[in-house]
Symmetry: C2
């Protein structure tokens, strides 16, 4: 049998996604590996991502955090973290969405986001908010959200730091 050109091509051929929303103790490690793999997040951001899993494991739904994990042949390769926004009737925040670097460019982000939106709709959510940075590094991220039907509703200049704006996107869900 011919050997595949590279490992990524081999992985693409085998893509067979399943989703789960129950969170297991090993998901702290899974989340760390996924967010580290992108090379996109700094150490404190990685710690925050892992802490949200730990908070869910400790407190359950009281934590306010919900997760979707996407698995491919038993390997956890992408996830989202989201939850209802306190003091709102039915608005939700998407706190995290990340795909393992080995599996980028295959539409997995879009698929897990669509799955997450359906879940939020079933939970009674009517609007999904996403906050991200206005820095150049996040241009592909912002384009991704726009292509998934999110509208830019606010830009808070110098929010994260001088020159680093917070951009807020929203997508109303259809019932």
């Amino acid at each position: 049998m011919p050997k595949p050109n590279n490992e990524k091509e081999a992985l693409m051929e085998k893509l067979d996604l399943t989703y789960r929303t129950t969170v297991h103790p090993e998901d702290a490690k899974n989340v760390r590996q996924i967010v580290e793999s992108s090379g996109f997040f700094n150490d404190s951001e990685i710690e925050i991502a892992v802490e949200l899993v730990q908070e869910l494991l400790q407190k359950g739904e009281v934590s306010g955090y919900y997760f979707v994990f996407a698995e491919n042949n038993g390997r956890c390769i992408a996830y989202t973290c989201f939850g209802p926004i306190p003091a709102t009737q039915s608005s939700y925040d998407l706190y995290w969405i990340a795909v393992h670097d080995d599996f980028r460019g295959q539409g997995i982000g879009r698929k897990i986001l669509e799955y997450t939106e359906k879940l939020i709709g079933r939970m009674g959510g009517t609007r999904v908010y996403i906050e991200t940075s206005g820095r150049k590094q996040y241009l592909p991220t912002r384009k991704f959200y726009a292509s998934c039907g999110y509208s830019l509703v606010a830009r808070l200049d110098d929010f994260y730091a001088p020159g680093d704006a917070k951009i807020i996107y929203v997508k109303p869900l259809r019932g």
Copy 2:
């Protein structure tokens, strides 16, 4: 001696504000009385206000909450609650500002807000954000923020509920 026309007038004559930032166990009760007195907040909002005091008392500065209490002749009559916004370099949120109804209309809100801004500046903060509702009921609140130098930077329609927008104000602090 002539009797004052009403109790409020008597209180106005005696106004002698002092500020403190240390939080005492009885401040849970003080905060409850202040926010209840306005008739402005619903039960769950009142509980949230009190819980922030309890979280500070339990966890200290790790809670992320800081308070200023204004006292008049030993009675706690106004307060603010604020804190650094996680993942930002020097942005702060003003979570709560409230003046006991017995003492409204005397510029106490403006004074405690100015005191709070100075404190945030000393803590290294460069921008203060305030989020509030777009509902009619909050028009005096929004006018108050505008008159204190806050600029409207974002309006998120239907954020809190259908027809109830979130309005975001910001004030850059001068060093």
